[in-house]
């Protein structure tokens, strides 16, 4: 938690309404996202109970499992959900664009748009991940055949869940996280997991302040939880009798139909308020202008979507239960790089985020007081253009001499710190030598060198290229690294853990029970 964000939280608490912590939107919003509000059966291992799903506020479809412990009904539900999700995904496979690769020596194609899945909270992402896990290894033949769309849905949900771990991806978004990235509420992080409370702070209903609206949102009798866990009271008083009535109807078609309708009514009543909140939250986010680098990150999501679609088209298998050691290390490395780059990009896009780095001594803002745009350094083999500027700042300057700084206004340009001199009134003068971003000649094109009077942000954060790490191929991995990553809090008996690489027999086992 940065002090700046913490201060915003304190301000929110005092003001009774959430405070902005971003001036631009840091995620991509699809004009046609697929909103999913799932509910699970208490006590079961990710057993779906219901989902409200659709790509427009008035297009909600309710899918339910009348007997959540019945495996056939679960797979029927999975097939029904696939019937909504897969056509939605396919609708983005229309147009492609050519992208130059390998320094323009080659091109590849990617979809011009991509799907976006939205759930209320991080637990909703976990639900999709586990639902993907429980369906992607299903077989369409053998003893327990499922509809062919079921394993396909599982692979896609797994794809989205993996994307969601990628910092800066907008492919699968938990709305609470998207909202709290832009607003600080007057409540704690645990309370921020509750979508109705978060929206209560950001956009309290008339006559209520944030704290009251959030407190009201915590009362499940006034405001059902945003799932996937249900309200225990609802389970005991409404759901249990409704499920029992359905089960008890037996072969009596009329009784079954009415019991089913009653279940649907009860579940819709729990889901509909969250559905409305989802679209309301999206509207609030959509009102923010997008950050300059959002489009670029969305292109990475489009790349990933394209690649996975091709993998599926080519008959590629389901994602393994667990990554092998090399795959896990590569993935971790990629996520770390993405995290760093995402943090830098947000700072470059948003002065309010950069302010956090200024407070941490990683950036400062000052006025250009001197500029020598034509300075040429001819001490080397050939003369090079090395303009110098002097920036005066009131902020503390915590960078050492010789450090390289960057400015969001000219990301391709490096500024080397030459002198740091304390000046009057606690100000500091910083002399910088510039290189890059000024063409190839010995005169800088206009605008490429900051002019006297320009206000400039300088930072140690670089949005530049980060080299990829080198990892051995799986077959060159020493046996000491051959096992699955030991990140699990619970370590099952080794005998029950499948080998990390190679086909794990249990993976495709159609007899793997499900409830």
């Amino acid at each position: 938690m940065s002090t700046l964000r913490a201060l915003a939280k304190a301000q929110a608490l005092a003001a009774g309404v959430a405070q902005p912590v971003a001036t631009v939107r840091h995620l991509h919003l699809s004009p046609r996202p697929l909103v999913l509000v799932p509910l699970t059966m208490a006590g079961e291992a990710n057993a779906p109970l219901a989902v409200l799903v659709g790509d427009a506020p008035d297009a909600a479809r309710l899918l339910i499992v009348a007997q959540p412990r019945n495996r056939d009904q679960r797979f029927a539900f999975a097939a029904e959900l696939a019937g909504v999700v897969l056509p939605y995904l396919d609708s983005f496979r229309g147009g492609t664009e050519a992208v130059a690769v390998d320094r323009g020596r080659d091109v590849r194609h990617r979809y011009v748009d991509a799907p976006q899945l939205l759930v209320p909270n991080p637990a909703g992402i976990t639900f999709l991940r586990l639902f993907g896990r429980s369906t992607r290894f299903r077989r369409v033949d053998g003893d327990y055949p499922v509809h062919p769309s079921v394993p396909l849905l599982g692979r896609w949900l797994t794809f989205f869940a993996e994307r969601a771990e990628h910092p800066g991806s907008s492919a699968l978004v938990a709305l609470t996280e998207a909202l709290t990235l832009h607003w600080a509420t007057g409540q704690s992080a645990v309370e921020d997991l509750h979508l109705p409370a978060v929206l209560g702070w950001i956009d309290p209903p008339p006559g209520l302040d944030g704290a009251r609206a959030a407190a009201r949102a915590e009362d499940p009798s006034l405001c059902p939880p945003a799932g996937p866990a249900t309200d225990p009271d609802f389970d005991n008083r409404v759901l249990a009798p409704a499920i029992a009535a359905y089960a008890g109807a037996g072969d009596d078609e009329a009784a079954r139909r009415s019991a089913y309708a009653e279940l649907e009514r009860a579940l819709r009543g729990q889901l509909a308020p969250t559905w409305d909140l989802m679209w309301r939250g999206l509207g609030l986010l959509a009102a923010l202008p997008p950050g300059a680098r959002v489009e670029d990150r969305w292109a990475r999501d489009r790349d990933a979507f394209t690649a996975h679609a091709e993998h599926v088209d080519e008959g590629g298998g389901p994602q393994p239960r667990r990554d092998g050691a090399v795959a896990a290390a590569v993935r971790l490395h990629r996520l770390e790089r993405a995290l760093t780059s995402y943090a830098v990009q947000r700072a470059y896009d948003d002065p309010l985020v950069m302010a956090e780095h200024r407070l941490a001594g990683e950036a400062f803002v000052g006025d250009v007081t001197l500029a020598d745009p034509g300075r040429v350094d001819d001490t080397g083999k050939r003369p090079v253009l090395r303009p110098r500027i002097q920036v005066v700042t009131t902020e503390p300057v915590a960078v050492p001499l010789g450090a390289t700084l960057y400015s969001p206004a000219r990301p391709g340009q490096k500024a080397k710190v030459v002198f740091v001199t304390p000046a009057a009134d606690g100000k500091t003068e910083v002399v910088l030598e510039l290189s890059g971003g000024m063409g190839r000649g010995l005169t800088a094109p206009p605008g490429t060198v900051p002019e006297v009077g320009e206000r400039l942000c300088l930072t140690t954060l670089s949005d530049g290229f980060l080299p990829a790490g080198a990892f051995p191929a799986p077959e060159e991995t020493p046996w000491t690294h051959g096992g699955p990553p030991a990140a699990a809090p619970v370590d099952p008996a080794p005998a029950t853990a499948p080998a990390a690489s190679g086909p794990a027999p249990a993976d495709g086992d159609p007899a793997e029970e499900w409830g």
Partner: protein, 400 residues
């Protein structure tokens, strides 16, 4: 009745103390610095009723689906006299069960608070003590409680432990007890104490799944604290009988459904850390007189008292609210409301990022430069002023 016991009885309004179970004892470790909870728990006050009466009811409802599922899984795992359970546990510990084990249900028929509880406690004590590995086992086990010197998971216990000829013994529902705040508290644990390969292991059956070797970390953590309560109680029981307490392993066995099925899978959880925390909190509660000395003389937590009076009484004992309380203590909504102007209500990381300043209004005053703050706040004040200036700068769109 001692004067302490009398005072505690008065605090809870003369009603019988609320029963503890492993979950409520485990909850004691959650916020050990909180006097309010310590005194209420020591007295065995009815916190749910209290919370209700002061207008901030707790929300710890349980879905009957979850209960049904938990019971069904437990019954399945324990079926056939625990044959499958024994196999799982032995395999996980890497030891030889030494033939079919014995199964003793120490509490099948009597319900909590039933009249025959003393008898049941006695039966548990006798059965477990008799099952403790014979004296020859003591010679090569460390004496005294030395949790850090515990053998690690899967150590070759088969090699030197006195296994031969001693078949495994499983004890279901033993009634254990612990001293909590000077009071003997009975625990009605849902556990199986398994003696095999010369040691006791606490076995807990939980119905949350382990999927691809991963379980919900929060649930595992909660199960670990609960198991630690059982380990502690079991150790005390053996120690009181003159046995070496370290005969009870600090590696507990968690049995959960695997993946999406009902197939059970056993995992080992090392609870040494939880044991230390628990021990510390119980010791603290044992000094209940120190605690009571800090509580106003007329303090009451009688749920039948007037709500206003109760609210004032509760407020007279210092609390230490943190957002974690919401998941652990029945009084959380009351304490949160009370702490609403404090930075801790926003979470510890927020408070720390605000330089440790406790009061929200004070934070804003320092940030606005309204006053310089106390000398020891100078650093925090400077940080907050800088933060406020930078925030205002960026929000008013000054170029940067």
């Amino acid at each position: 009745m001692t004067s302490t016991a009398q005072r505690l009885a008065e605090i809870r309004g003369g009603k019988p103390p609320r029963r503890h179970n492993a979950r409520t004892i485990a909850a004691l470790t959650g916020n050990p610095g909180c006097d309010r909870r310590a005194v209420l728990d020591s007295a065995g006050a009815d916190k749910p009723a209290l919370a209700e009466q002061v207008g901030f009811p707790a929300r710890f409802g349980q879905s009957r689906f979850a209960i049904t599922r938990g019971n069904a899984f437990e019954a399945q795992v324990k079926a056939d006299g625990g044959a499958e359970l024994l196999r799982l546990v032995a395999e996980r510990l890497g030891v030889d069960p030494g033939g079919p084990g014995t199964w003793t249900d120490l509490g099948a028929d009597d319900r909590p608070g039933g009249p025959d509880q003393p008898d049941r406690a006695e039966r548990s004590r006798a059965a477990l003590a008799a099952a403790a590995p014979a004296a020859r086992g003591r010679a090569h086990l460390p004496t005294g409680e030395a949790p850090t010197a515990e053998p690690q998971t899967g150590e070759a216990q088969t090699g030197d432990a006195p296994t031969s000829g001693e078949p495994a013994a499983l004890f279901d529902h033993p009634l254990l007890s612990l001293d909590v705040a000077g009071r003997r508290v009975h625990l009605e644990p849902d556990l199986v104490a398994a003696r095999l390969a010369g040691r006791f292991h606490v076995v807990e059956i939980k119905s949350f799944p382990v999927i691809d070797g991963q379980a919900d970390p929060g649930k595992v953590a909660a199960a670990a604290v609960q198991s630690a309560v059982y380990v502690l109680a079991l150790r005390e029981l053996l120690a009181a009988e003159g046995h070496d307490p370290s005969l009870v392993s600090s590696d507990v066995v968690l049995v959960c459904p695997r993946d999406f099925a009902n197939q059970p899978v056993a995992s080992l959880v090392d609870v040494r850390k939880q044991l230390l925390v628990l021990r510390r909190q119980l010791d603290r509660m044992a000094r209940v007189d120190d605690l009571l000395a800090r509580v106003p003389a007329n303090f009451t937590a009688d749920p039948a008292a007037d709500p206003d009076h109760l609210r004032r009484a509760l407020s007279s004992v210092p609390a230490r609210y943190a957002p974690d309380c919401l998941a652990a203590c029945e009084l959380a909504y009351f304490c949160r409301h009370e702490a609403r102007a404090e930075t801790t209500a926003l979470g510890r990381p927020v408070r720390e990022a605000l330089g440790g300043v406790a009061d929200v209004a004070e934070v804003l005053a320092l940030a606005a430069g309204e006053h310089p703050g106390a000398p020891e706040q100078a650093e925090a004040a400077a940080l907050l002023r800088a933060a406020a200036r930078l925030r205002a700068d960026a929000l008013t769109g000054r170029p940067s």
